[in-house]
Each structure stands twice: as structure tokens, then as C-alpha cells.
Symmetry: C2
Subunit: 233 residues, 2 copies
């Protein structure tokens, strides 16, 4: 990507990118597995998601340590400085994404044996698939330094918010219909909220990738999950 005299410098930048990509892969798998654990009441899979989280934390720390060393030793400017800073920021968002996936996995363990039939579970699954697609696309945009890909992800975040909001309303009606649904639906409300927040972090990554590639920030009125809707924010 750049034309450095020092080969080590390029290797260090590549190393940072590889660590971020590794975190991204882990985050994607944690979200997919947490969702499967929830849908199929698969406790073993939930446990494996929970067990993966410390690896994500270690990777984040490693990226931060390496980035700080690079800042001090290389005093990067322009593209290279953005590259180092982007790795710190994206690692931070991926660590939070892993946390949110872990929360869903933990919650799934408490929800065993109380499955709601029908559209509520389907709604959660659809929401998660949307979030998974967004996360995959933003990681691809990062790997390919693809400005347009980053903008696409950033623009589509509103879809997650809209779907989550519809799901929220649906869950509230189940709760009102039958008090026995309340505890289970409360868990689902929090799962849906975790997925929406995960989408916000994906959008953050899209902003970082856009800045990394273009050197410019996206507008501040991003299509974020701050909609002034009725029941949910």
C-alpha cells in the first residue's frame, strides 16, 4: 500500500492489519454462533462463544501495544498514521462486538426450554443475519480498502434499526397478551438491543474504514440507531 524504504515498517503495518482481520473473523463467528445457540437452544455452542471472548480481548491489547510502539518508533504520517490509528479504533469496536455476542450467548443459556413459536424468534434470526452481513461487508471493505463498500454498510445501518424496532413492538404485544411470556420476551428484547448495538459498532468501523481510505470523515448525521421512535432507542 505504501512505498517505504524499510521493509520492516511495511511488515509491521501488515502485521497490524492481520491482527485486526483475525479479530474480525473471531467476532463474525461469535455472532453467528451466539445466534445459533439462541435459536437451537445449544448450550455447548453458547459456552464456546463465551470461552472465545478472552482471545478477542488479548488480540485487542496486542494491537494496541503494537500500534503504540509503531507510533513511537516510526512516527508515521498521513496514510500510515491513519492506518495505525484505524487499527486501534477498529480493534476497540471489534472487542465490543465480541462482548455483545458473548452477552447474547450468556442470555441464551437462561432461555432454554421457553422457546416462543413463530415470528418473534424468526425476527431475531433475521436481525442477526442482517448484522452478520453488515459485519462481513465492513471487514471486506477494510481488507480491500474499499471506500464504496464502507459507505454501503454505513448507509444500511438504518435497516437494522427498523427491523429491531418492529421486533420490539411485536415482543411487547406478546408480553401484553400473556404474562407468562414476559420473562422470556424481556430476554429477547435485550438480545435484540445487543444486536442493534453491534450494528452501531459495525457502522463505527465503516466510518473508520472510510476515513482510512479517503482521509475524510463521513457526515455526522449518520443513519444511526438513535431514532426517536416510540418504544425504543
Amino acid at each position: 500500500m505504501t512505498d517505504h524504504i524499510s521493509k520492516t515498517y511495511d511488515q509491521e503495518l501488515d502485521g497490524l492489519r492481520r491482527l485486526v482481520a483475525e479479530m474480525g473473523g473471531l467476532g463474525e463467528r461469535m455472532l453467528a454462533d451466539a445466534t445459533t445457540a439462541l435459536m437451537r437452544e445449544d448450550a455447548k455452542r453458547a459456552q464456546s462463544v463465551i470461552a472465545t471472548d478472552p482471545r478477542l480481548d488479548d488480540l485487542q491489547r496486542k494491537i494496541e501495544d503494537n500500534a503504540v510502539l509503531m507510533l513511537m518508533r516510526r512516527q508515521p504520517v498521513a496514510n500510515d498514521l491513519r492506518e495505525v490509528m484505524a487499527s486501534i479504533r477498529i480493534a476497540n469496536d471489534l472487542e465490543r462486538i465480541g462482548d455483545l455476542a458473548k452477552n447474547i450467548a450468556k442470555r441464551s443459556l437462561k432461555m432454554q426450554g421457553h422457546m416462543l413459536s413463530g415470528s418473534a424468534m424468526g425476527g431475531i434470526e433475521a436481525l442477526s443475519r442482517l448484522a452478520q452481513a453488515q459485519l462481513k461487508d465492513v471487514l471486506d471493505a477494510y481488507a480491500q480498502s474499499n471506500e464504496k463498500g464502507a459507505i454501503d454498510v454505513w448507509t444500511r445501518d438504518g435497516q437494522i434499526d427498523a427491523l429491531e424496532n418492529a421486533l420490539f413492538r411485536e415482543l411487547l404485544t406478546y408480553m401484553m397478551e400473556d404474562p407468562r411470556n414476559i420473562t422470556f420476551c424481556t430476554h429477547l428484547l435485550f438480545c435484540a438491543k445487543n444486536i442493534e448495538r453491534l450494528g452501531d459498532h459495525t457502522t463505527n468501523i465503516a466510518e473508520t474504514v472510510h476515513y482510512l481510505v479517503t482521509g475524510k470523515s463521513l457526515p455526522s448525521d449518520r443513519p444511526k440507531g438513535d431514532s426517536p421512535s416510540d418504544v425504543n432507542s
Copy 2:
């Protein structure tokens, strides 16, 4: 705090500390005001909390920019490196704390005119007061480089989790008793969860302060809000 030949270096470190303290003060006020807005149905105050949030974001960006410049220009080691890194980490947590306070303020705007009487509102207020005290104490520990103060805050986080868990159970019973409470109680559930997460970020700051002062990390099994309790995680 250190013995530098360059006076400017000390001034730069002091400048970072001052910016972090300014963020801390704003974060404290946002939480206090968001809680008052919720308790008194004070829409104007809620709006002012929401309007304050961008200032916190700007301060965080400024701290990060200054810290990166210092890393590159000064190549700090030991205490000074910890000081610079601590400012980045604490600013990150304070930005999230501001976000969570803003979420409570936004939610309070949707809850006008539906006040629950009695202990649920009192429970939220008590939870918030506990979180406010923790935040104040950790900012004091940072300002005074007080290791013991940081450990105290870190140890007490379990109190917030216990109170939030009790409140959760109480809110679920209100929802089961009367479906007309469900929407309002759902908002309160999310407010309580926001305060609990705010407490987690306060605990993160306590860990950072401890590391800053001692150079050592606190044990990883911190008293965190990851309790395997029944309804809540």
C-alpha cells in the same frame, strides 16, 4: 509528577489530565441531570443532556489527537507512557458513559406522564446515586493518583449489579401484575441496564487508574456485571 528537563513536556501531560478531568465533570453532570430528568419528567433538562453529548465526543477526539502527538514526539516511557495511554483509555470510557447518560435522557422523553408510583422509581434513583458516587470517587482517585481509591471503586461495582438485579425482578412483577405497565417498565429496564453498564465503565476507569499509579493490573476476575443471575446479565 515527574522530573522532566523540558517544561513543555510536563505542560503537555498536565494538559491531557485537565482534558480528562473536564470530560469527567461533564459525564458526572450528564448522569445526574439525566436521572433528574427521568424522576421529575423534566424534558428541558433531558434535552440539555442530549445537547451536551457532542462536547464529550469532541473532548475525546482532542485527547486522542494530543496523546498520539505526544507518543510520536516524546516517545514516553514508564510512568509517562502509562499517563498518556491512561488518558486515551479513560477518555474512551467517559465517552461511553456520556452516551449511556444520553440514552437515559432520550428515554425519559418517551416516558412522560406514565410515572410508576413507589419503589420502582426509587430503585432507579438509588441505582443512579450509587453509580454517581462511584463515578465521582473514581475521578477523584484519578485526580489524586490514589491507588486505594481506585481499588475501592473497583470492589464496590458488585453493589450496583445487585441493586440492578433486584430492580429487574421488581419491574418484571409489575409487568406481570398489569399489562398496562409493560411499556413503561420496559423503558425502566433499559434505563437500569444503562446505569449498570455505566458502572462497568466506571470500573474500567478504576482499573486504568490502578494501572497508572502502580504499573500493575488488577486481577481479571473483577466484580463485574456478568453475574449468572436468573433474569439479567
